[in-house]
Symmetry: C2
Subunit: 411 residues, 2 copies
Amino acid sequence: MSADVNASPDVLGRRQYRNGEKVFRASDPAWQAAADNGLIGIRAAGSSNNRLVVSDTGHEFVSLCSSAYLGLNYHPKVVAGAIEALRESGTTGLMVSNTRIRHELLGRLEDELSDLFQAQVLTGVSCSALTFGILPLLASGNLAPGGPRVMVFDRFAHLSMAYVKPIVADEALVLTSPHNDLNFLEDVCRKYPSVAYVADGAYSMGGTADLAGLRNLQDRYGLFLYLDDSHSLSIEGVRGEGFVRSQMSLNPLTIVVSTLHKGFGASGGAAMLGRPEWFNILQRHAGPVGWSQNMEITSVGAALASAAIHRSPELGELQQQLQRNIEYFDRRLPTSFSGNGLPVRVIPIGESDAAIKASAELFRRGFYSSAVFFPIVPHGEAGLRVMIRADISEQELGRFVDNVKELTDAE
Amino acid sequence: MSADVNASPDVLGRRQYRNGEKVFRASDPAWQAAADNGLIGIRAAGSSNNRLVVSDTGHEFVSLCSSAYLGLNYHPKVVAGAIEALRESGTTGLMVSNTRIRHELLGRLEDELSDLFQAQVLTGVSCSALTFGILPLLASGNLAPGGPRVMVFDRFAHLSMAYVKPIVADEALVLTSPHNDLNFLEDVCRKYPSVAYVADGAYSMGGTADLAGLRNLQDRYGLFLYLDDSHSLSIEGVRGEGFVRSQMSLNPLTIVVSTLHKGFGASGGAAMLGRPEWFNILQRHAGPVGWSQNMEITSVGAALASAAIHRSPELGELQQQLQRNIEYFDRRLPTSFSGNGLPVRVIPIGESDAAIKASAELFRRGFYSSAVFFPIVPHGEAGLRVMIRADISEQELGRFVDNVKELTDAE
């Protein structure tokens, strides 16, 4: 029996949205090469993002791979806020589904974020937990009228969104659009009455969504927008509301999600809801949103302190410092995203081996800049990802650029 | 055009594993009734799990819905550990993919948990993030030889596992077995060469997996076991290793995952890996496991302090106190799971309206015990879920039982 069963095609899934075995085969050699070059599984700690020390060797380095764009992860007030919440509450968390009972401090954080970002905010243990919960309900037609909704994912939408395509597809038709291709999207809107577009606001590998074009489609066709703005929260907008929200107010056909990690400096996730009534619907029906693990007290305390900074003049100062650093970087090392005001840059190298070699040599010289390769970027487009922060000096950034230029010219 | 498109069946997904719209329709009235009875969206804080105070009314109540079974969420050492980690590190976290760089304290926690639980431990931002990442790779055949693996989910497997069925099904055949039906499972093992069983160790609604039977199938057919033991970690086993691990050592065909929330008293998740080499494979390829958000410093500090308690005589004392409370409850109020030594009990009531009414009256009298109804439990099997803790006095638990008896007899 086993002979024909071994070959039985009915064990195989459709592999319509993923092929773990193939991706593994195609990418593991590069991961292993990165590991062999000492770039994977590093353990480190230190007094700032610019002074990290490898635990077992004492090697000191500057992080150029941290998404703490404003340096709030090391801000004394954020750390003190986390401590204060623990002291005040005397607990790590209530360990109960937040659908039923929320700790007062978490409720206070949601009130504060809702006011800060001028939208009903729902928190989650992470941004991807929110996405995993919300997208299937959006597809099933439970968030807006019009029945099941055709779900168009931008080809470059972050993996945290693309990952749930099979779940979403069990509810409604899933399509993948070429990156930022509004003609494709408009064709879908013409063909189907109820459509949603799932994309990043500011992309994790650089670049942004075409917001003006998307709003136009929204006006003309009732297109629903689900945008992840994790890479621009805090760093754009008067109150740090991010790339998308600094250019559009929310409407009843829009959800913007973001991490409270990265720029915001705490942890957990936040969804800005275009309709306040979604808060209850999502709590009750959006899977991971209603499970008992939400942001815990320590994350809440850090986030409350960070929110207070977002209301102070310090936010603008940090944003300006970040912009000065981005402009400096773009002047010294132009890339395709130069001038977009966002902090992620990819320096193209080509083959993964060369990117790994450059990253390893930079690390030896005291800078960690991630080698990125398939499936993070397409095959043959490997490079170095640089994440620029407010809390790095121009001098330090300049030293990094000098080294990159020397190494990539030499490649 | 729109007329026929509106009716177009090709917008609808297959609805093979989920039907959000139907579940919404079937369950939202009960959620709304619970909300109308003041049981949803409560905001509270307090000095212990037995002294919670509703923020806007001052109403005081005892939590019987907290999965902090040992009371470690309010343990002064756990809270102090969280504060100490923040002080020591000066940061909320490094905000970088842990595949590349882990904060030394997170590495230390993984070492500590690996030693405590005698297994290579991989942490995650939550237990479900680990499950979402691991199950598809298990299905694709990347964790053990034998090619794509038929994935059998127990019908009562926690939603955090059942939720990812469509993703898993894109890699390999997914089947759902009747609860604890080892005959069904053995039939599948006879038919297919490579099979995995996905289930809870100790179930969130009570009851356990048939470990002896499962180990037998593992020996005879090479069955892979993926077990979630979130509801028994800390509370069973000499080192709090949980229901499953207190009865079996790990082997190269087993993964046991658990939250570090609930009994453990911190937050985040942990996977105990049957093969140490999975650590690297999962870091690189298991989606949510490799994204930049992992446990952050505050969670790490609480978890380190909790781990220290797990090594001390206090763990046994708390476990015994919990057992005394469970035995007391079972004597006073026998249910179908009486005598299993686990802390979750469901008091059957029948219809959701009656369960909600009973829960509301109990809350008025100072006890929160969750009304559970479809889809948490099957239709017509609504009831009150009781979560027994070590940190509740027999007197308080007795008062709760008295009230339950009065109310459910009266029903």
